[in-house]
């Protein structure tokens, strides 16, 4: 494993961590562009790739594309002839742009799409297709002048693509899942009740024949559910909420 190979894995993992700390689209586009720059990519796009119908257009989910290229692409309606988009709709495995082959006779415009991209500095690229359970495919495409397609680099790009799509979806806002207030589990109630009568975590672990870490864990979860900052408050809140009685 060369030092350079280790870098690619670290770039991917560091970027995934950075996603967790980023909450605005500009932040995410920024750190993604910086990270991908180290692979030789100048731009990227997270996009929906719907099936071809008369007015099918790709839906930009997170836009790191050169604005002039995006405008040119949409304006010329390249989507229906784009061989990269075509392959992305049919594949779950990542691929290089050069692997999105086409029959030049049957699809003459495909070559025009790829040539136009080159005019905007997008000579070579890599795509991570994303299968959404809705039935529509998405993709994360990244392109530049001369990206590094060494195998380990591609695996790192693959991982980045998968997490970038998730980040894009969370920025857009997923459907809110309703959160009913939750009752304590029996285990949580048990440890809280013993806590209420003054037993330590260790003593409770012996009484209930479970690991001490398990006792501490259940106490933590109970505190979280009861909105308490410490064990004492948790006991009080639980009694008030009639979750335990002593």
């Amino acid at each position: 494993m060369s030092a350079k190979s280790v870098d690619y894995a670290n770039i991917a993992f560091d970027l995934i961590d950075e996603f967790d700390r980023s909450f605005r689209p500009e932040q995410v586009v920024g750190c993604m562009s910086t990270a991908l720059g180290r692979f030789g990519f100048s731009s990227f796009l997270v996009v929906d790739v719907p099936e071809i119908t008369s007015n099918a257009r790709p839906v930009f989910l997170l836009n790191g594309w050169p604005p002039a290229w995006a405008e040119h692409y949409q304006g010329h309606n390249y989507y229906k002839d784009d061989p990269v988009a075509a392959r992305c709709r049919r594949s779950v495995d990542p691929f290089e742009w050069s692997e999105a082959t086409y029959d030049a006779e049957k699809c003459p415009r495909a070559a025009e799409v790829m040539d136009a991209g080159r005019q905007f500095g997008l000579h070579d690229g890599f795509v991570v297709p994303i299968d959404r359970h809705t039935g529509t495919m998405s993709g994360v495409t990244m392109a530049g002048d001369r990206p590094d397609f060494e195998p380990r680099a591609k695996r790192a790009m693959h991982l980045i693509g998968l997490y970038a799509h998730a980040k894009a979806m969370s920025l857009i806002g997923r459907e809110d899942i309703s959160r009913p207030a939750s009752d304590l589990t029996e285990g949580e109630r048990e440890v809280l009740t013993w806590t209420a009568v003054g037993k330590s975590s260790w003593e409770i672990s012996v009484i209930l024949n479970m690991s001490e870490a398990g006792v501490v864990w259940r106490l933590k979860q109970a505190m979280s559910k009861l909105g308490a900052n410490n064990k004492t408050q948790a006991v009080v809140n639980a009694i008030v909420a009639k979750q335990i009685s002593i």
Partner: protein, 213 residues
């Protein structure tokens, strides 16, 4: 309902366990054609079906229709023994409160349309996570085909990769750790629109993670 089968109550489920290994043969050997599996008399076992394994059996009208299993990471398990390259970057998680979760399957007629569908897989996922939460398992270690990642994230899981995607028998796989929280159990149940209890614990009296001797 999803029945929890631990070493403590396994004697209550001998025939269902046998059914499980027959179904595993159908799914993993015949259908998915996994490489390196051994079946005897049409029953598929591997070295990670041990005395410590916790099984989950989805049983409907007395028939096993799906299932899954968990193994302690302090003992030999799939990630550590067969595909450690999946944990190349973060290392193999080994802790008394981390279990490996593998072999989630459903019989053909209970897959309910779509690759994930609803019905029994939802019950298996929700039930297993609820069990993990109840037993104070802090995280589950699992491996899956990389293209499943977006869908698993839609369940509301935090999925922490352990390494880069690796090519295994022509497919890209990922190893990951998923922290267990009340929130992710809730969001998984909501994802599958499950509002009723799912788990059955017949004859289980002891917690999974016991005090160290």
């Amino acid at each position: 309902m999803l029945h929890v089968v631990t070493p403590e109550n396994r004697h209550l489920y001998s025939s269902e366990i046998k059914d499980q290994h027959k179904i595993r043969h159908d799914v993993y050997v015949e259908e998915r054609r996994w490489v390196g599996l051994q079946s005897r008399d049409g029953l598929e076992f591997d070295q990670f079906d041990t005395d410590d394994t916790v099984y989950f059996l989805a049983i409907e009208h007395g028939r096993v229709v799906g299932g899954s299993r968990m193994n302690p990471t302090l003992k030999p398990h799939l990630l550590a023994t067969i595909c450690p390259e999946l944990a190349e970057i973060k290392g193999i998680p080994r802790s008394p409160d981390i279990y490996e979760w593998t072999r989630m399957y459903a019989v053909k007629d209970r897959r309910d349309g779509g690759r994930f569908g609803s019905g029994v897989i939802g019950e298996i996922f929700s039930g297993c996570l609820e069990y993990a939460y109840d037993e104070a398992i802090s995280a589950l270690s699992l491996q899956f085909e990389a293209w499943w990642l977006p869908r698993l994230q839609q369940h509301g899981w935090e999925i922490k990769p352990l390494g880069l995607p690796s090519l295994i028998n022509g497919e890209w796989w990922l190893g990951a750790l998923i922290p267990i929280t009340a929130e992710m159990v809730r969001s998984t149940r909501a994802f599958y629109r499950i509002s009723d209890p799912v788990l059955v614990r017949n004859g289980i009296t002891k917690p999974l993670i016991r005090a160290a001797a």
